[in-house]
């Protein structure tokens, strides 16, 4: 019986926004005690590989300890931007949920 994998959604919630071909995802610890885990899990390398199929640019990660939040900024991730995108979610409104699918076991 293999142990089920834990995902980021267990310890955090997220909100995505768009600007041009960039998207930001605010990731907030559900409980402040998980903030340290967030910082450990959310490295630019991991996030870039999680979004390898859609993110053609860089990934930046910023800390907001006052809100127990991490702001993830993805560049060149919206198929050229909402106005020209062919995707079902041109503004990337679901990218927050997509990031919450990140497995977190390896970082613990």
């Amino acid at each position: 019986m293999s142990k089920q994998r834990r995902l980021l959604i267990e310890i955090a919630w997220a909100h995505a926004g768009d600007k041009g071909d960039m998207a930001n995802i605010g990731v907030v610890a559900r409980d402040p005690i998980h903030y340290e885990v967030l910082l450990k899990v959310l490295t630019p390398e991991r996030i870039k590989s999680h979004f390898a199929d859609i993110c053609r640019g860089r990934v930046d990660v910023y800390e907001l300890p006052n809100l127990h939040a991490v702001n993830v900024v993805l560049s060149q991730v919206l198929d050229g931007g909402p106005m020209r995108s062919l995707r079902l979610d041109p503004q990337g409104k679901t990218l927050g949920d997509s990031l919450l699918l990140l497995p977190i076991d390896d970082a613990n």
Binding site: N24, V28, D60, N71, P82, Q91, L101
Partner: protein
């Protein structure tokens, strides 16, 4: 204390929200933000078809709806409804006010100058424009540019209010400046921390009910989600403020709903750039101070950057979307076959497709490969679903009222994919079929050979 409230957070918002808010709460300034980044592109499309368009026509519907509040000593209104055509928008506003019999003391100001098209070539040379997305040089799009607008700041709005305007119509300005303008007018701030507080207030108002529980990760716990109250900022002279919402409305204002909007569309939190101030988001202090009340304080700011953001639109070809729903049995195989068939048809017809994608909705078309993690973690949720509401309605007016409810679903549960500002549901006229029988002898077929035109004598006759 100055009470600034949001009456619209994006184009397509329910037009009755401003009236609902004014009926429920005391408000000094009502700010209506209609411009997302994509909105100017949509407006450009409308202006191409009709040069008198290119602004948020919804604003006129709102004004008509709140007519009783439009008085010389009533609420003051600041909006970027002008979009790409602020002058025409303001002209329509003044004729509407006259038609409604509103006092001429309700003065209307229009702010433009954001339109850079007249001097674009010179500006491009002097500024070495490159794309904020991928640093591509301006030369790659220069020939296709259709519009170019700078994000103006709060100062022109302050000046318009100082000139006695009750309604200020702007073109492209920073969303937060709609709020900062009135605050500069009221408090005469020159301190960067005060202005920074105003910027944060503006950020919490600019998307309407996204700060009061709309489009929230907590959607299943938010009361009254079918009609979320729009936010109100009660701003003190030091730039600190309390965020709340229209009295007796749905939604919720707490640390989490406010945090959610604070994180909306920001990049480096140490330096959130606006034309009014550069703001350090890490200094924001939140404190729940009563039911549906969050106090925001401690915000630190410094001077804005010397540059303004510019939003341009350019002609970039066409997009075609074809959709075919299939059901059990072999639904996925059928969808796959349909996509193979259309790909071959595209080839046969010699259509020069620059880029295309094939998606089968319901099989992981949105989250893509990341969905494997959910399945491995034991989630039984389907990958994605489509909620469809169809109705037959007797009058066109009511059909349009319903169709306008597509966009406000943004403030329903979070994770609505494919939301584009101002989008409406499809309305089509029904001409229904009605069949019966008639006695065959009551119907007489008639046969006539029609006269033909004489053949041409010469080319000149034809």
């Amino acid at each position: 204390m100055v009470r600034v409230a949001a009456g619209a957070g994006s184009w397509g918002d329910d037009i009755s929200e401003a009236r609902e808010l004014l009926q429920r709460s005391e408000v000094d300034y009502l700010v209506l933000d209609y411009l997302a980044e994509v909105t100017l592109s949509i407006m450009q499309g409308q202006r191409e078809k009709d040069p008198a368009k290119g602004y948020a026509t919804d604003f006129l519907l709102v004004l008509r709806d709140i007519a009783p509040f439009l008085k010389a000593d009533g609420v003051r209104i600041v909006t970027n409804a002008g979009g790409l055509n602020p002058e025409e928008c303001a002209r329509q506003v003044t004729s509407l006010l006259s038609a409604l019999g509103i006092s001429p003391e309700v003065r209307v100001a229009v702010i433009d100058g954001d339109d850079l098209m007249p001097q674009l070539d010179t500006l491009a040379e002097r500024n070495a424009f490159s794309s904020l997305d991928d640093q591509r040089p301006f030369s790659t799009v220069a020939k296709s540019i259709l519009s170019a607008n700078a994000y103006l700041g709060a100062e022109p709005i302050r000046r318009a209010l100082a000139l006695g305007a009750r309604i200020v119509v702007t073109g492209r300005c920073a969303d937060v400046s709609l709020t900062v303008g009135p605050l500069l007018h009221e408090f005469g701030w020159s301190d960067w921390d005060c202005i920074a507080g105003g910027v944060v207030a503006g950020h919490l108002l600019e998307c309407g009910p996204q700060s009061t529980g709309g489009n929230s990760h907590m959607w299943s716990d938010i009361p009254g989600l079918d009609h979320v109250g729009y936010p109100i900022a009660e701003v003190a002279s030091d730039g600190s403020f309390t965020l709340t919402k229209a009295e007796g409305s749905g939604g919720r204002v707490n640390g989490e709903t406010v945090t959610e909007q604070l994180l909306h569309e920001i990049f480096d939190p140490a330096a959130v750039l606006t034309p009014d101030a550069t703001v350090d988001w890490r200094t924001i202090r939140l404190e729940e101070c009563g039911p549906d009340r969050v106090r925001v304080s401690g915000v630190k700011g410094r001077p804005p950057p010397p540059t303004l953001k510019v939003s341009m639109t350019y002609g970039d070809g066409y997009r075609v979307i074809l959709q075919w729903p299939y059901a059990w049995p072999h639904a996925v195989a059928k969808a796959q076959a349909a996509l193979d068939r259309i790909s071959r048809t595209v080839q046969r017809l010699g259509i020069a497709v620059q880029d295309s994608r094939r998606d089968i909705f319901g099989t992981g078309a949105i989250h893509g490969p990341r969905l494997d993690h959910a399945q491995r973690a034991g989630s039984a949720d389907p990958p994605e679903v489509f909620a469809r509401y169809a109705a037959r309605i007797g009058t066109l007016a009511q059909a349009r009222t319903l169709s306008a409810q597509q966009a406000p679903m943004l403030y329903g549960p979070q994770g609505l994919a494919g939301h584009i500002a101002g989008g409406r549901g499809q309305v089509s006229k029904i001409n229904s079929h009605w069949a019966t029988t008639v006695d065959a002898t009551h119907v007489s077929p008639r046969i006539r050979i029609l006269p033909r035109a004489e053949p041409c004598q010469s080319n000149a006759d034809c």
